[in-house]
């Protein structure tokens, strides 16, 4: 993976925000067919059947706490994921066009189903961003680590397909019922979209290693013991981190900066302890400024860190991701040998 790098391109946040303590919690009993029809369109099947399915799925989600927010205000979108993704995509195309880069593939990543349920968001992006000739598909079912799974797929594509030099990754999240914004005491999710470039030649950060560590999702969902699950997730991040630094011959002390997900401080602290990295090496401005944005956290924090932290060529960054039943660690080396203009 020596010749592949990533560049955060853009993120999009809705203009509307809601106080965290006013975010409605969604319960299986409180979620009605009328609520489904208020938020969702283009079901294909009968709304009652879709509603029954969502209620069953909702019942398997552990309750969240509104006190879990890392910010006072939560970003709330009025439009579907697909629209948010287009906003981030249009912003992302500005530097790509300026640099004259051609995109051979577009991957859409998300942890939330689009409320315009029958649309193909990757196809829409391919059309709207005028990426004619590019393949376009979705990588998902990895929760808030869907961005890291998409990064894995893009890196593999560039590694083995000579004709692919640039892959554009775009993700979007919107939490409308039946999705609940609050999950355990880890986070309250805001709505957002993000975009990054994975490239053979033009990048800001060299992707040295990417490890995604899967565990039993069922156990992570069924336990009611938040402390136990937090400890388990921290150990899972540590396993991914240990594997990654071992692969490239580093020690924990070689890491200049950690980009964690913008989740609750208890979880971040547990991760810091397990990975044996001082908490002061963790970039926490993102969680303070924007709160948890799911799959957008990676881009938001890469953009923020580039602005807030002075990095030297050769500095190592560990970007962590957590989701129900999986953890991710991307080791990035700062060193713009071929920076995106």
């Amino acid at each position: 993976m020596h010749n592949i790098g990533v560049t955060p391109l853009a993120f999009h946040l809705p203009s509307f925000r809601l106080p965290a303590d006013q975010c409605p919690s969604v319960t299986a009993t409180g979620f009605t067919v009328e609520a489904l029809e208020r938020y969702w369109q283009d079901f294909i099947i009968e709304p009652e059947l879709l509603h029954r399915f969502f209620v069953q799925e909702l019942a398997s989600t552990p309750p969240g706490s509104n006190g879990a927010s890392t910010t006072e205000m939560i970003y709330v979108a009025e439009h579907p994921n697909s629209d948010l993704a287009v906003e981030a995509g249009l912003q992302a195309m500005v530097p790509l066009r300026a640099a004259g880069l051609n995109v051979q593939a577009l991957i859409y990543y998300s942890a939330t189903l689009d409320s315009r349920a029958a649309w193909s968001t990757p196809c829409r992006l391919q059309h709207t961003l005028e990426l004619r000739g590019a393949d376009a598909f979705t990588v998902a079912q990895k929760g808030t680590n869907s961005n890291f799974a998409a990064l894995r797929v893009a890196a593999d594509m560039i590694s083995v397909e000579e004709s692919v030099e640039n892959v554009l990754l775009i993700g979007a999240e919107r939490f409308v019922p039946p999705y609940s914004r609050a999950f355990r005491d880890w986070w309250i999710c805001g709505d957002s979209a993000s975009a990054l470039l994975v490239s053979r030649r033009s990048f800001k950060y060299r992707l040295r290693c990417l490890v995604i560590q899967d565990a039993d999702e069922t156990a992570a969902l069924s336990s009611s013991d938040n402390r136990q699950i937090t400890a388990m997730m921290a150990r899972l991040v540590q396993a991914a981190f240990d594997s990654a630094i071992h692969d490239v011959g580093l020690r924990a002390s070689d890491i200049r900066m950690v980009l964690p997900p913008n989740c609750g401080l208890d979880l971040v602290s547990a991760i810091a302890r397990e990975c044996d990295i001082p908490l002061e090496n963790f970039y926490l401005n993102g969680r303070r400024s924007f709160g948890f944005l799911g799959t957008s956290d990676l881009v938001v924090n890469l953009c923020g860190a580039a602005h807030d932290v002075t990095l030297e060529p050769g500095d190592w960054i560990a970007a962590f991701g957590i989701a129900t039943g999986s953890a991710a660690c991307a080791l990035l080396e700062y060193g713009p040998e071929a920076p995106l203009k």
């Binding site: 193909s120 990757p122 196809c123 376009a136 998902a140 999702e217």
Partner: protein
């Protein structure tokens, strides 16, 4: 159009599928109130006979049944699977934080596997998933990848794509393995017409545009795919199709001048269009029926709403 030719790195070791019970089209039409005229069109013009509809079986049960049959038959230990990739046409398989991929991973005991899904191309997601799996192996990140398709209508019998097809449910499983000599993937090509992203819910003009483009894009992609391998259409022993309907294939086959007797259309009648599972269902049956012999070149071709055309060539 993009060809992705990385020959020799991986082959499809084994395939299987699971179909829920079939309803005759007459019974389906009676239960759903589809008028006789439309039924006649589906049967007489489009050549469709049945629609598969799960009767209480959950999607995860359906997928697990296909996977367990495959692993048993091949004596593959679940812990030898490096990646589990789910692909599907419809969107309602699971609602995160619960994932279908994660639940199936746990159910089959694939404890080492990285699991996720590839979608967004509707019925052509099969081709994107195959590409992702092949690349994981070629990049050295996996040796054994389990590809699973599954679609569910959650008990609904609303199955029409009006005037085009009737949609069924199924699950399929395929093992892609590094260095496997059978069904080696020689190339995978796709073509995306993103303007048609609204799929089933698009305006009438999108439908018209899709119909206009359908044959032209199909012929072009097949020609490009063959060119990328320096092959001619007569080199292809069998075409493994999607099962949308007969007339669409008659149009494509005449356009590319392919002998109809070498086209594996048996399942258009027998099981109809089972969405993302069509290709693996058909490949399984073509192999079982002896329609593919060692060394034969096999083309798999599919089209998904959105709109995406996908084509690959395997050597059996």
């Amino acid at each position: 159009m993009k060809g992705t030719g990385i020959g020799q790195v991986a082959g499809i070791r084994a395939v299987t599928y699971h179909l829920p019970p079939a309803l005759s089209l007459e019974e389906w039409a009676q239960r759903t109130g589809v008028p006789q005229g439309a039924l006649d069109q589906y049967q007489d013009t489009l050549g469709l006979r049945v629609v598969h509809a799960a009767n209480g079986e959950t999607p995860i049960d359906r997928a697990a049944r296909a996977v367990e049959e495959l692993l048993d038959a091949e004596q593959i230990h679940p812990e030898s699977i490096d990646a589990l990739i789910i692909y599907h046409s419809l969107y309602f398989l699971a609602m995160e934080p619960r994932t279908f991929a994660g639940q199936l991973r746990q159910r089959i005991g694939a404890r080492r596997a990285l699991s996720f899904s590839v979608s967004g191309q509707h019925c052509a997601s099969a081709m994107a998933a195959l590409r992702v799996a092949r690349n994981m192996i070629a990049a050295g990140n996996a040796r054994t990848v389990l590809l699973v398709s599954c679609d569910s209508f959650l008990g609904s019998l609303r199955r029409e794509i009006p005037g085009i097809t009737v949609m069924g449910e199924a699950a399929s499983a395929a093992i892609l393995q590094a260095g496997w000599e059978t069904n080696r993937i020689l190339t995978i090509s796709t073509h995306v017409e993103g303007a048609l992203y609204k799929g089933l819910t698009g305006p009438a003009k999108d439908d018209e545009r899709f119909r206009l483009m359908y044959y032209l894009a199909s012929r072009r992609l097949i020609r490009k795919t063959l060119q990328s391998l320096s092959l001619k259409i007569e080199d292809i022993r069998v075409i493994i199709p999607h099962n949308i309907n007969w007339p669409s294939w008659e149009g494509i086959l005449s356009g590319i001048k392919y002998p109809p007797e070498r086209f594996f259309g048996d399942n258009i009648d027998r099981c109809g269009h089972v969405l993302s599972s069509d290709l693996i269902v058909n490949l399984t049956d073509a192999i079982r029926l002896g329609r593919i012999q060692k060394g034969d070149l096999v083309m798999m071709f599919t089209v998904g709403l959105g709109a995406v055309w996908g084509c690959s060539v395997l050597q059996h």
